[in-house]
């Protein structure tokens, strides 16, 4: 760089207010980009982490998801008899029938909050090994439930509202929280686990929603999925558990696209702000540009000087924006009856930094090129 960097940097202080406003605009845009990217990362990470490679979900052949599926006792017995199923130390098959309901819950003064209630047996903890209790007891009969680590976000209530001993109300029954579980960042973290019999009783069900199976060998997964799907004597379909959750995540793509769209709109706003500042900077220094050219500096030297100036604004705004975005790390965000943790990792910060750098670069080029291309004599006559 032939024009000194200090020339670019000191010029930032000639119009302090405008520079400060532009830094603030870039910071806001960067923060939005970081948070939106972190949100998308959280959603995708949850989908990626949900499910085990050796697990299969068996559902009603006509159902699109567990919530609308019905598995009869006959189907369950047939599934239980499959020889590929892994067995526990007591030689019982590792199979977890579940009843899933999207319900509206009252949590103290918080009424009608949507959530997913999953009726399960203790076998769930063997079949889905990411689920483990972090406090209290497992769900059990007598309407004793356990809540997931993101259930408060799904319900939109403070974490302390779901403390052990708190009472949830749904289906005109009181359900006492007896424990808290973690599902290792997977979709179950948003849910409430209850005893299977209790759920089937209060919802007056005579069928299960789905059955989760752990197989003895991962190599059995694909052949068994194919075999179950080809059978005509039962109306069930089998899906690899990971594939099932990936499919659910696809439903969130529109939300992610919306988040990306918001980030792009914000970035365009930042770009206009940055460009406006640089146009003002160029226009106020046209005679300087002419002088520099008389001294022998080329158009490229001058463009580069303005780009450095703009990138300095972008760097400062980007750093502030990344710092602000970082504050959102770990915050829960809710979509429908699921909650996700915003994950502001290195990639999210890098995305924010790239947005800031692009604003700095693209915002500087048109005004800088306009100024640098001006005829010397015309530039020298500028006021």
């Amino acid at each position: 760089m032939r024009l000194p960097i200090r020339y670019s940097i000191r010029n930032l202080f000639r119009r302090k207010t405008r520079t400060a406003l532009t830094v603030a605009a870039v910071a806001m845009v960067t923060a939005v980009a970081v948070v939106m990217f972190g949100f998308a990362r959280g959603v995708l990470q949850t989908a990626k982490d949900s499910g085990s490679a050796d697990n299969i979900v068996v559902m009603d052949r006509k159902a699109a998801s567990m919530a609308f599926s019905k598995i009869t006792l006959r189907d369950l017995n047939l599934i239980k008899s499959l020889p590929q199923i892994a067995r526990d130390a007591a030689d019982r098959p590792l199979i977890s029938p579940e009843a899933l309901h999207q319900s509206r819950l009252d949590v103290g003064e918080h009424k009608g909050r949507p959530a997913t209630v999953r009726g399960v047996l203790p076998e769930l903890f063997e079949v889905n090994r990411k689920v483990h209790m972090v406090a209290g007891e497992r769900p059990s009969s007598g309407r004793k439930v356990a809540v997931g680590s993101l259930a408060h976000a799904t319900l939109g209530v403070p974490e302390q509202a779901l403390a052990t001993g708190a009472v949830l109300k749904f289906q005109n029954q009181d359900w006492t929280i007896v424990g808290h579980f973690s599902a290792g960042g997977t979709a179950l973290d948003s849910e409430i686990l209850a005893d299977l019999s209790d759920v089937m009783a209060v919802y007056q069900r005579d069928s299960y929603s789905a059955v989760l199976i752990k197989l003895a060998s991962v190599s059995d997964v694909t052949p068994l999925v194919r075999a179950l799907n080809d059978r005509n004597d039962v109306q069930v379909k089998a899906v690899e558990e990971r594939q099932y959750y990936r499919g659910l995540a696809e439903g969130f793509e529109r939300v992610i696209l919306l988040a990306v769209g918001m980030a792009i709109v914000a970035a365009i706003g930042g770009l206009v702000s940055g460009m406006n500042t640089m146009y003002a900077s160029v226009l106020s220094r046209v005679r300087e540009i002419g002088t520099l050219k008389v001294l022998g500096f080329k158009s490229g030297d001058i463009v580069l000087s303005f780009v450095v100036e703009s990138l300095a604004i972008a760097a400062l705004g980007g750093a502030l924006g990344c710092a602000a975005g970082w504050l959102a790390n770990g915050v829960s965000a809710k979509i429908s009856t699921s909650a996700f943790t915003i994950t502001v990792d290195q990639q999210a910060l890098l995305a924010g930094a790239c947005v800031a750098a692009l604003i700095g670069l693209i915002g500087a080029l048109p005004p800088a090129l306009k100024g640098a291309r001006m005829a010397i004599t015309e530039a020298l006559h500028a006021n």
Binding site: R10, R14, R287, K298
Partner: protein
């Protein structure tokens, strides 16, 4: 073109298109300037004197005609080569000083040296020498706003001479100065010419400023005329 001729202008024409009409301030101008001459270019506003100087300095381009400076046909140079040529051969002094307000006096003078293969230390040394030559060695770290008009113009002269160019082109360099500062600046130009052999091209409408030149050229309606050389003004000692 004689051996001592540094500037040769032949059949120079410059036409500006203002959109509504075409203006031709220079039409068929011929001029030779010998190396080491101090030439003043006078004329009424719009007579084309600054245009002529800008074309000679490689700042503007002619519509037609030939301009040789130091044996170089400027029309043959690309914009990039012309910029490089200006840096090494022309020291330009503006009426309004045109210093960079965010740079100190020394940093302003260093600017043309940024384009030469010099170390930072060499640049600083040469800039200091140039500022010392114009009597501002005690103002190195001052910003333009901290200097008087006369001092700012002396910084601009230091910037113009720091690359040791053969030609100094000064466009109304005293137009914004009081009488004392004007004398200082003109005295410095006179010394640069008499002591260091610089060829000076001074555009002015002020007869007093023009009287410092050894050769006075009048430009009016595109026609050049010369007045007889006069006894040169003595250099102003304090500026040396």
């Amino acid at each position: 073109m004689s051996a001592t001729t540094i500037i040769s202008v032949r059949n120079l024409r410059k036409t500006y298109d203002t959109g509504e009409s075409k203006v031709t301030p220079l039409d068929g101008v011929n001029l030779d300037i010998a190396e080491g001459e101090f030439v003043s270019l006078m004329g009424p506003s719009g007579s084309g004197k600054t245009t002529l100087m800008n074309i000679i300095a490689g700042v503007d381009k002619p519509t037609a005609g030939l301009v040789h400076v130091g044996g170089v046909n400027l029309a043959e140079l690309s914009d990039a080569k012309l910029a490089r040529w200006r840096n090494r051969n022309i020291g330009y002094v503006f009426q309004q000083f045109n210093l960079m307000p965010v740079l100190t006096a020394q940093e302003n003078v260093e600017l043309p040296l940024m384009l030469l293969p010099l170390s930072s230390r060499q640049r600083k040394h040469q800039a200091k020498m140039a500022l010392t030559a114009v009597g501002l060695d005690d103002r190195l770290r001052h910003y333009p706003r901290q200097l008087s008009g006369g001092q700012q113009q002396r910084v601009a002269i230091a910037r113009a001479i720091v690359t040791d160019p053969k030609i100094i082109a000064a466009d109304e360099p005293t137009g914004n100065l009081d009488r004392n500062s004007e004398e200082e600046v003109l005295g410095i130009l006179r010394i640069l010419n008499s002591r260091f052999g610089k060829t000076i091209l001074l555009v002015t409408h002020d007869p007093h400023a023009a009287s410092f030149a050894g050769r006075r050229i009048h430009l009016d309606k595109g026609v050049l005329s010369e007045t007889a050389p006069t006894v040169l003004k003595e250099p102003v000692e304090e500026a040396a």
